[in-house]
Structure formats: C-alpha cells, structure tokens
C-alpha cells in the first residue's frame, strides 16, 4: 500500500467513523441505507460480476428474508431466533431458486429468476391473511446484542457499517480464493472449465447460495432499519434497481456495488427532493450506462477520459472507436 492509498484510507475511515458526531439522524439513516444496499448489491455482484449470471429476481430474496424476520417476530419469536429462521429459510429458498434457474444461462436465466421473483412478490402482495398484503408488516423493536442498544440512528449505523465491512471482507476473501478464481473461469469459459474437470453446476450453485446469504443479511438489516417491510421491497422494480447498483458501479469490482448503491439511494432519497422526475433520471442513467459504459461508472469514465486525451494527442489516424463489449 502506497502512502497515498494509506492516507486516503485513513481520511475515509475517519470520516465514516466520525459521521454520527456531525450528522443528523436523517442523514445517518440514509447512510445506513446505502450500506445495506451496498451489502445487497455486493451479494448480487457475486452472481452478476463473478459468475456472469444476471438475476432479475434478487430483490425477492432480500424481501423474503425481511418478511420471514418480521413475521417470525410477529408470531412471538425472539430476535435471535427470528434472525436464524430468516437466514435459514432464505438459504433454503435461494437453493431452490438456484436449482430451478441454473439449468439455463443468459436470457432464460434472467426470465426464470424474474418469474421466481414475481412468485414471491405475488405471495407477499396477495397472501393478505399471512403477510398483511400491501399494508406490510411492522416490527416493534431492534435487538440489543450483549445488552447494547441499537435503537438510536447512530448505534444502528455502526452495526450496518460493521456488517458491511465483514461482508466486503468475506467477498474479498471469496474472490481471492481458489474457488473465486474457478468461478470467474466458469463465467468466461464454462466449456473449458468442464473439460478441466470442474463441476460448473456446483460451483455456480454455491456462489448463488453465497449471494443469497448476503442478500438475506441485507434484507434483515433493512427490516430492522425501517421497523417495516412491504411487498414493494420484492417487486420487479426493486430487482431492477439492485441490478442497476451492481452494473452502474461496475460489475465484478469490490467497491463498485457500494458506489452503485450510493448512486441509487441518493437519487431516490436526496435528489427526489430537488428533481421531481427522479424515476426518469434513474431510467436515463440506466440506458446511458448500458449503452456507453457497460463496464460501470468508474472504469467507464476512466476509459472515456483516456480516449479523449488520446484524440487530443493528435493520434488522428488511429482514432479507433473503442466499443464496450457485452458478453454474448
């Protein structure tokens, strides 16, 4: 690590840790939301970025975990039991999703995950006697592990920060492990990986499970943050937003999902106060990123800047247009 990197890390760390000292509850909650969606997008990125499998139903796993937690609490479970039940059932549900969807790749995979997501959304929305339908489910309190209260915005913020760091470290370790390398191999060259003796299906299955687990953790935090969960958190638009987070930040990068989560959450919560048509802006950003910067905002901006610099540098004869490639 160079001195510059260490300095940057120090400044960011100081800012993040001191945030509760100079920020109010509203902005702390927004930051917690960014971190929670950062965890969720990091989980989705395992699938989209490393495994090359685009899921358009991931918000349903996130929402499923939140619902299981809220409904368990409603029926008298303790916080610890509810969290364990939620993680266990979401893992089971993710496994089912994986078994059903991993028979295919590409567009069929997208369609199956979309259909599965709609299935869970339909249950949350219409199974009124169990889920309260559109009214959603309320939570009474947050847990207090080891006697530490989490009710205040700053206390919950530190919890989400801790969980986010743990999740990021887990994904970093995952990516740098042999398994992570093999997974990227199945993304780029599934046939060769099969020929080399790897069980591509199992590799994808466990990655899906890992991705679902991170989504479940994010969903649980989300329910506790708002003391509330409603069917919208499982809707197709939520799945699309999650995908936008991953792709805008840069699929396959470690901190890209957090940047994407920041972009979407800030657009939704902060910018919507100033721009009336934030949904339009969100769609437009989506289109522009996909068409012009499929590799994500940070690497994409860098590429465009490089291109401009090259063109100004007088390389007129070699002004080859660098077209971003989509995996076919």
């Amino acid at each position: 690590m160079t001195i510059r990197n260490a300095l940057t890390a120090g400044v960011v760390g100081l800012l993040v840790l001191s945030l509760p000292a100079w920020s109010d509850a509203y902005h702390l909650n927004i930051t917690s939301q960014i971190l929670i969606f950062g965890i969720f997008a990091t989980g989705l990125n395992v699938l989209v970025g490393y495994a090359g499998l685009v899921s358009l139903g991931h918000a349903s796993l996130f929402g499923f975990a939140a619902y299981v937690l809220a409904i368990s609490l409603e029926h008298g479970a303790s916080h610890l039991a509810a969290i364990l039940i939620s993680i266990g059932l979401t893992a089971l549900c993710t496994g089912l999703f994986a078994v059903l969807s991993l028979r295919s790749r590409g567009i069929t995979f997208i369609m199956i995950t979309l259909a599965l997501g709609q299935l869970l959304w339909g249950l949350a929305y219409r199974w009124v006697s169990f889920t309260h339908g559109d009214n959603g489910v309320r939570l009474d309190s947050r847990p207090s592990p080891f006697g530490l209260s989490l009710e205040a915005a700053s206390e919950f913020y530190f919890l989400t920060l801790l969980v986010f760091l743990l999740a990021t470290l887990a994904v970093l370790a995952f990516r740098n492990s042999a398994f992570g390398a093999v997974l990227v191999g199945t993304r780029d060259q599934p046939r060769r990986m099969t020929a080399l003796g790897y069980d591509v299906w199992s590799i994808r299955f466990f990655s899906f499970l890992f991705s679902g687990l991170l989504s479940a953790v994010a969903g649980i935090l989300f329910a506790y943050l708002h003391y509330f969960v409603d069917p919208h958190s499982l809707a197709l638009t939520s799945s699309a937003e999650a995908l936008l987070m991953v792709i805008s930040g840069g699929a396959g990068t470690v901190l890209g999902p957090l940047a994407g989560a920041g972009l979407v959450v800030i657009m939704k919560n902060v910018a919507s106060g100033y721009i009336e048509r934030w949904n339009f802006a969100l769609g437009l950003i989506f289109v522009l990123i996909v068409v012009f910067m499929p590799e994500g905002l940070v690497p994409g901006t860098r590429r465009l800047l490089r291109k401009i610099r090259q063109n100004w540098g007088g390389a007129i004869f070699h002004r080859g247009v660098e077209v971003p490639q989509w995996p076919h």
């Binding site: 358009l56 059903l100 028979r103 979309l114 006697s129 699309a240 989506f286 068409v291 076919h328």
Partner: protein, 287 residues
Amino acid sequence: MNFWIVLAVNSLTLGGVLFMLSAGFSLIFGLMRIPNLMHGSLFMLGAYVGASLASGFGINFWLAALVSALITALLGVLIEETVLRRLAGAEQAQVLVTLGISFMIADLCLMVWSGDPISVSAPDVLRGATRYFGMAFSNFRLGVIFIALTVAAALWLLIERTRIGAMIRAGVDDPQMARAMGIPVSRIFTGIFFLGAALAGFGGFIASPILSVYPGLDTDMLPLALVVVILGGAGSLLGSLIGSFIVGIIYNFGQALFPELAYFILFAPMVAILVLRPQGLFGKPTA
C-alpha cells in the same frame, strides 16, 4: 351458473387483450431475440394517448386506436433503430436498456397525465349489452374478443400465407441462413418491431374501457405478457393465442376462487414450463 359464465367471458376478454399485447412481444422475442421489457410501457402509452385523443379531443374511438397504435409503433422503431440495434446479440444489455426505457416512459406518462386513473367510455357501436340465453353480456367485451380473433387471423394470414411471412418464419428458424439467402433480415426486424409496438399500443387503448388507464398499468401487464410468451413459446403465434387465453382463464378464475394465491397460481405454471420445457408449449427447441 351465471357467475361461471360471466367469469368465462371475462377470461376470454382478458385473453384477447393479452393476445394483442403478447403477439408482438412474442414475435420480437422469437425473431429478434430481444426481450422487450418496455412492451408493457408501449401498451400503457397507447392507452394514455388514445384516451387523450378520444376523451380530450373527442376523436372517434377507432381512429384514436389507430393513431395511438401508429405513435407507439414509431416510438418503438425509433428505439429499435437508435438503441437496440447497437446492442444486437447482447441480450443482457437489451434487457437492461428496455427496462430503463420503461422507467422513463412510466415517469413521462405520470408527468403528462398525472397519477389519477382515466376511464374511457366504450365506442357507441358497442355500448350496452345483448341478451343471450337469458343472460346479459357486455357488447364491448364480446367486441374485444372479436377484435382479438380478427387480429389473430390477420397475423396468421400474414405469417403463413404471404411472402413476407415466409421471410419472417425463415428469420425465426435460422436468422443466419436467412441472411445468407438474401432475406433483408434487418429490414424485417424493423418491420416486426413496428408491428409489435403498434399492436401493443392498439391493445392498450382497446382495453382501456375495461382496465381503465392508470400509472402501473405497464408493470401489471408486462409480467402477464411474459407468462403468455413463456407458456406459448417465443415466436409462435398459435402459442401466443392459446397462452393468452390460458393466462386469461387462470388470472380471472384465480382471482375469484383463490384471491390470496392468485399471483402464485399465475406464475407457478410459468416457472414449471421454464424448467421443464424451456421452449414453451408451442415453441421449437433451440439448439
């Protein structure tokens, strides 16, 4: 008894509407391999434009339907030519782009037409009800079924009995071979997109006296079209027709008999088909 017959007529009406929506979706998906997730938005846009023309400007219902079909068709072609063509073959990018555009269309509709639902009155010819076997049937609902069947017949003639139809079929079966044989596949793609978008807009307005027009109509309809196409098989006209009526029946009977599980009952067959028979009931298996 009465209850069941009313439910059956409603199912067939919804099936007819779904056919107009999903026939284009199916052709675009089957021929061009473009999962056009803005198809529901074109449906809603057609409904809004038609409602403005018919209610706001007092234009004849059928003329309004044609004009809104033309407008959505031109918008569809514009997007196909400027954006989707750049992403040919990259299905994931197309999914994301059409989803992004659907967000934009939805927000624009909200801006122009506000959030209040707009109700559209049925055309004069089809007002009122007719009595058959001692029961009253809404003329308009029967009319929608008739229109949908007419559209289906016309599409069938176009695809099965004309030279252009033969080219389309060749394109669905083997686009590379079709190109090699000198079939102008790109121009046919644009034509298909025009037709599909026009049908979506037309269907949206024709359905508006029944469904009314409201924000969220797009996301209500798109998943239904998706179910239809996956059940029936992409690119299959017969599949779209039968799939539409199946979904119409499942949706209406599900809503009436098991309201709490209505969506589950609707999407479960789609998942089953995707897993067991990915090409759909009437689709051809792809290599």
